[in-house]
Symmetry: C2
Subunit: 313 residues, 2 copies
């Protein structure tokens, strides 16, 4: 028996009174693939009308903040890039805060979002989709060249992962003195694709039918470099520390809303936030209540629009 | 101070008297890339003339035993496929010994060598190089199909590693009940390519200039499946147990000769063999003698032909 309560009119009222900022995970909370989850728009409007600050925190590094703002826009929700914290942005902010020398380059195993955020932050980033079709001929008598001025390798989910990229990143980390190894996140599987729009999505099948995620690419790099990365996305506290500074809020007045126990809820708990699990993504009620689970959110409910239904009831 | 002795005329004479089988690693011991290491041919001839049994044990799963025999042949050395134990063969023997149902399929992330050994052993294997150019469109509304009759996924070094293969293997392991996850080996970097034919090869640079190896692909699969593989190559004892049965020899009468501490020497020691480290591959004398190293072979020397030089001196 754990302390996790189903969301009710009573505890929701108390939560709304005690919290001034809601942090939302996106995939499985706001949308699934390219479809908005029912009632999201009205729920966000309601929270804004109550004066709550909203922040959207996603581990998916494929897009930049500007690209996410566009996605929100297309889904009919008005969100400013400033309200969005993607792990792609977190990677750029990590280098910024730790005074990464701008004359050093950054090699990217991942999507456009990372490259865009790094460039916006003033860094010289390369790799990513541009290396999608590069190959390594193991039989050819070549010396594999890499840029000695690469001072950081950032690894996120990469739909075009290949041997060339893994080899390039490995050489930079192993050979360039002090080269940083940064992971946007370590989620094993993700659900940013459309194929998880699977009948009966609140079932175990949703998890295994999802696509492999950044955790797979990060693990590959750990395997070849025999080093552990600096993780900047959830559940690492880096993103939270950054948020707290930027918005000047107290953790105890924040509530993290997410669909994953091991990233979202842990992220909130690591920082001392209130936590609300929604079952509209990759966690089932039985997984939550399984004795093997030791991550217990304060509250859980099926989807965020339950807030409206409970208050109207 | 450890007990590792440099090979001398005296301890070599004693070693030759006490041992009847020599197990040789190949990469870095017999050849480097496509070049035979100096004096190898004469050394092997000498050992055979002394009645020693020779076995060649390689973690490199890109080739099958028959393909390795051909490589030996082209390098001017006569070796029968029966004397060769590659990790590709070990994967097939593992399934054979554990009565893997022949009606189940095997999905391969790796090279032709694994497919060939699996097929020779009577298994229905697919994947490998044939999936080199398959792609996954994360944006398309597709359901990623996988074969429910796959009962094992074998992962080795794969120069054509891509998202499709990682996703396919992950789905088989996560979704097919009882599906085995087998790794040929977990070496972080390898030196099967030609680019490590690098001036001053007995230096630290040889390690980092080598290509990424199976450990990288295996780690990727661990990251996405969150499972640990059954490892059949060195230093796992599976290959040794198989060798002992097949040749009916005693471990104490065997000597393992290799260039890697964490696979070759550990493999020999795990089985109770004598061990000889050669510095003609990826281990330097300073790495051997570094206080952080806790794997100590019985003997070390620069290359296997030192045996001849010592006895002639």
């Amino acid at each position: 028996m754990n302390s996790c309560q189903v969301l009710s009119r009573e505890n929701l009222t108390h939560l709304l009174d005690s919290v001034d900022t809601f942090l939302f995970d996106c995939d499985g909370v706001i949308w699934k693939g390219d479809n908005l989850i029912d009632g999201v728009s009205e729920t966000l409007d309601f929270l804004r009308s109550k004066g709550k600050k909203l922040v959207f925190v996603t581990n998916n590094s494929l897009k930049s903040r500007a690209q996410y703002a566009l996605k929100f826009h297309f889904l009919g929700i008005s969100v400013s890039p400033d309200e969005i914290f993607s792990s792609s942005f977190a990677a750029a902010m990590y280098l910024k805060l730790y005074n990464f020398p701008p004359q050093n380059k950054v090699y990217v195993i991942g999507g456009d979002g990372i490259l865009e955020e790094l460039r916006l932050a003033g860094f010289n980033a390369f790799g990513g989709p541009a290396d999608a079709n590069k190959t390594v001929d193991l039989k050819q008598n070549i010396f594999f060249e890499h840029d000695k001025s690469v001072g950081a390798v950032v690894v996120g989910i990469d739909p075009n992962i290949n041997y060339y990229k893994l080899q390039y990143g490995t050489l930079c980390i192993r050979e360039n003195p002090g080269c940083l190894f940064i992971a946007t996140n370590r989620d094993a599987v993700g659900h940013m694709t459309a194929w998880q729009e699977w009948p009966g999505s609140i079932s175990d099948s949703i998890i295994s039918h999802s696509g492999i995620s950044a955790g797979c690419m990060v693990a590959a790099m750990c395997g070849s470099t025999q080093k552990e990365p600096i993780v900047v996305g959830k559940p690492s506290t880096f993103m939270m520390d950054f948020l707290l500074q930027k918005f000047n809020v107290s953790c105890s007045k924040m509530c993290m809303v997410g669909d994953r126990l091991d990233t979202d809820i842990l992220f909130g708990q690591n920082a001392g936030c209130k936590t609300l699990l929604v079952l509209s993504g990759c966690t089932t009620q039985s997984a939550l209540q399984d004795p093997s689970n030791n991550i217990h959110p304060d509250f859980y409910t099926s989807k965020i629009s339950d807030m409206l239904d409970l208050l109207e009831a």
